[in-house]
């Protein structure tokens, strides 16, 4: 993989590998479908990687393996030099839907991962930290509001806090803003970039939007279906921090066109 030109959010060279997948394959025995074939991937400390591909290219399978929700058939899955054999505290995850629980206030929702892992007392101790996180995502004053009163974008901001509360080593983002309208989505993407920079987070994003992938990522993994595999890894050498204006630059358009070309070829198979 070409990581030579990759830089972290502040422009410094990338840190040590955090998440490493080596020759990972997944075959569903039931119908002999090869969902993933020989996928190798390295996420470095403080980097932002996106995966893009048509449906059936195995990107959700890849994400589930990385989250420790399903085991691979063959291959090595290592996070912080420990094999991923199940859900872990140092993996943060975010979904398309905010999935906040309506019987809990915003802060109570945010400390839920701690409540599950360490119990109610530990969760209560983490309330202050949850309040700080809400401040970071711009939801100061919404601590004791129930999710019914939050807009879609606000709910997703709260779910970012829930993901960050356990200080995970890697953030797995499953099309986190695709349920939002386009204006909110652009804004949330810029927010996400800012938060990742401040937290020096290592992020892995699954998306359908080429623009979104390009504006956020250091590297874009293009996947192809049948069998699901990595077709190419595209390095995005736009300067950091990214701004929405960059979406109109020729360089941005060039990268988008290149990725679209790869995906179109994939459709014919």
């Amino acid at each position: 993989m070409n990581t030579a030109v990759a830089h972290d959010y502040s422009g410094a060279p990338l840190g040590a590998p955090v998440y490493e997948l080596t020759e990972v394959s997944k075959t569903y025995a039931r119908n002999h479908v090869i969902a993933l074939e020989n996928v190798s991937l390295t996420l470095r400390k403080g980097s932002f990687t996106s995966v893009i591909g048509s449906s059936g290219c195995g990107k959700s399978t890849l994400l589930k393996i990385m989250a420790g929700l399903i085991p691979p058939t063959t291959g090595r899955v290592m996070l912080q030099n420990r094999a991923v054999t199940g859900p872990r505290r140092d993996i943060g995850m975010m979904f398309q839907q905010a999935t906040l629980f309506p019987w809990k206030t915003a802060v109570e929702n945010i400390v839920l991962p701690i409540e599950i892992r360490d119990g109610k007392a530990a969760a209560n101790k983490a309330l202050d930290k949850a309040t700080e996180l809400l401040d970071i995502v711009g939801l100061k004053g919404f601590e004791n509001v129930y999710p019914n009163e939050l807009s879609g974008g606000m709910a997703q901001r709260a779910s970012i806090c829930r993901m960050l509360i356990t200080e995970p080593a890697v953030l797995l983002l499953d099309e986190p803003f695709s349920a939002l309208d386009e204006l909110s989505r652009d804004m949330m993407n810029m927010e996400l970039q800012r938060i990742c920079r401040e937290q020096e987070a290592t992020a892995f994003l699954v998306t359908h939007s080429i623009q979104e992938a390009v504006i956020l990522s250091d590297e874009i993994v293009v996947m192809k279906p049948r069998p699901g595999r990595i077709a190419e890894v595209v390095t995005v050498d736009l300067p950091r921090p990214r701004t929405l204006d960059m979406m109109t630059t020729p360089k941005f358009g060039e990268i988008v066109d290149r990725i679209r070309g790869m995906l179109d070829k994939g459709e014919d198979m």
């Binding site: 859900p87 993996i91 839907q97 999935t99 019987w103 999710p147």
Partner: protein
């Protein structure tokens, strides 16, 4: 270029605010209390008309006035703690114990069926089979097993009310969406944690729907039990009044009985609003 033309009127006199009223059909604009009074008056009026024209025999349908008189008589009897209150209390006891039993059994079975594959595969088919039977037909059996006391009525009441609670609980446990399940998995939640902290709270609206249907059923069960199994409850009073062709009495007894049923329903509804405070009011609820 051509002159710039606006569509503003030339003279000041015709310049006005564009304010107009949206039409609302009269039937939609009637306030609730007027609408309810109207329906009540029409109902009583039709009743009065049918009886004063002599369309049906007074034995079959008493006049509204006769019924009102009897309601006052029954009401006085209840208030003075006479034999009718004793009967009513017996029926209320049957309803309360029956409902409590139905909740305990229905909820437990609902969790078994809704949470475990074993329950869904092995227990649910039998529950569905029993649920399709006419449950009232079991009344003689309960009498034979438990006698003519309140036990046989409690059993029938609980028997009828259990099934909607099972179904409501099982449906509620299936209500959580894929995202919520996945989220709990990624947080490393145990099965018990997932059940208690996520699936049960998510399913509370469905569970309460089951409880409300059960609350209606428990009343019907208790009264049917009294019709078929004797005893000293309110159902027995109705049965005796009917056999004496004392129709006004039957009417007023049913009315007071329905107040008990209504009270039970309102208690469940009130509890639901307190417990499931995040649930939006559904269409058809009493405050619209």
């Amino acid at each position: 270029m051509t002159d710039y033309v606006t569509n503003a009127p030339a003279d000041d006199e015709t310049v006005q605010d564009t304010v107009w009223t949206q039409e609302v059909a009269f039937i939609d604009s009637v306030p609730r209390w007027i609408a309810m009074t109207f329906v009540f008056v029409v109902f009583i009026g039709t009743w009065q008309l049918v009886t004063s024209l002599g369309l049906v025999s007074p034995i079959i349908l008493p006049t509204p006035m006769e019924t009102l008189k009897d309601m006052i008589f029954v009401g006085a009897n209840l208030l003075t703690g006479d034999y009718m209150l004793v009967s009513l209390w017996i029926t209320i006891q049957e309803v309360i114990i029956g409902f409590a039993l139905a909740i305990a059994i229905g909820f437990s079975l609902g969790v078994l069926v809704g949470e475990t594959a074993f329950g869904e595969k092995a227990v649910m088919p039998y529950l569905v089979a029993i649920d399709t039977m006419p449950k009232v037909a079991f009344a003689p059996l309960f009498v034979a097993w438990l006698g003519f006391g309140i036990e046989s009525k409690v059993a029938l009441a609980a028997f009828i009310a259990t099934f909607p609670i099972v179904v409501g609980t099982a449906a509620g446990l299936h209500a959580a969406d894929e995202n919520a399940r996945m989220l709990f998995k990624t947080m490393g939640a145990s099965r018990m944690q997932t059940l208690i902290k996520m699936k049960l709270p998510t399913g509370l609206p469905q569970i309460f729907t089951g409880l409300k249907i059960g609350a209606v059923g428990v009343m019907a069960g208790a009264i049917t039990g009294e019709f078929l199994g004797g005893g000293k409850g309110f159902g027995e009073l109705i049965r005796v009044a009917a056999s004496q062709l004392n129709t006004p009495r039957v009417f007023s007894l049913i009315l007071y009985l329905s107040l008990v049923g209504l009270a039970l329903y309102v208690i469940v509804q009130w509890t639901q609003r307190r417990v499931v405070f995040w649930q939006k009011e559904t269409v058809g609820s009493y405050d619209g």
